[in-house]
């Protein structure tokens, strides 16, 4: 198959990774106040770790394929936030409730960063497309 948009594969993988990151951030924000998750513990913040992986198959001409960015989801290890709220049904004997240790400002800053990275990759795709189209327009009058 002809590859007209060069380098678009790694860009697509990066877009995928950024999308995963945005999904995880949305999940963190949505569960910022979940004091009791399915396991009975407060929701644990998730973080996305980016890695670069090589595609398993080599290219048909024997050249090295581009490194693709992939996202791995891991749990944040920071301890839950103890909040004094005696009336809360989840409170212990002393009135303390363990809440997820999620800082909305931090999540928002992460979201801006992920969103901008996504935009940058979209710009790369757009640029590859426009380069191909301008090349096809050589000699057109």
């Amino acid at each position: 198959m002809i590859q007209l948009l060069s380098g678009v594969q790694s860009t697509a993988a990066a877009l995928d990774a950024e999308r995963t990151r945005l999904n995880v951030i949305s999940e963190n924000i949505a569960n910022a106040n979940t004091a009791r998750g399915v396991d009975g513990k407060p929701y644990q913040r998730q973080v996305v770790v980016f890695e670069s992986a090589l595609r398993q198959a080599m290219n048909s001409d024997g050249t090295q394929p581009p490194a693709l960015q992939v996202a791995r989801i891991e749990k944040d290890s920071r301890p839950p936030l103890e909040v004094y709220s005696p009336g809360n049904p989840n409170a212990d004997a002393n009135g303390w409730v363990a809440m997820p240790n999620i800082n909305l400002h931090e999540e928002m800053a992460d979201m801006i960063s992920a969103s901008r990275s996504f935009e940058a990759n979209l710009a790369a795709v757009k640029n590859a497309r426009s380069m191909a189209q301008q090349t096809l327009a050589i000699g057109r009058h």
Binding site: M1, I2, L4, L5, V8, A12, L15, D16, R19, L122, V125, R129, A132, Q133, L136
Partner: protein, 108 residues
């Protein structure tokens, strides 16, 4: 110098056999077969490729609309690739037709 001359003499026989085909008379040109695929089969393969690419793009768009776990950007990038391939095909066809018309306009 003499060594170089002898080398040239040993070299020239390899070049010589090429000459007769180059200076073939115009009547013999039509009988010569091109080494690779014919242009028509190349163009046909190109059309098939573009069609396959457009089918792939359509499949991924359908997968997105069908709620399968296919990212939106993958569908859009697939469509763009199909679009650029199609433009390349149209460009080749335009050039071919242009050359044909140029030949047809030729004064004899």
């Amino acid at each position: 110098m003499s060594g170089m001359a002898s080398r040239l003499e040993t070299f020239s026989p390899e070049v010589m056999p090429l000459k007769p085909s180059e200076t073939a008379s115009p009547g013999q040109v039509s009988s010569a077969q091109p080494a690779g695929d014919s242009f028509a089969s190349l163009l046909g393969k190109m059309v098939t490729d573009v069609s396959a690419q457009q089918n792939d793009a359509l499949q991924s768009v359908r997968a997105v609309q069908g709620g399968q776990n296919v990212p939106l950007h993958q569908a859009v990038i697939g469509m763009e690739e199909a679009n650029v391939s199609f433009q390349l095909m149209v460009e080749v066809r335009n050039r071919l037709l242009e050359s044909y018309q140029e030949i047809m306009r030729m004064q004899i």
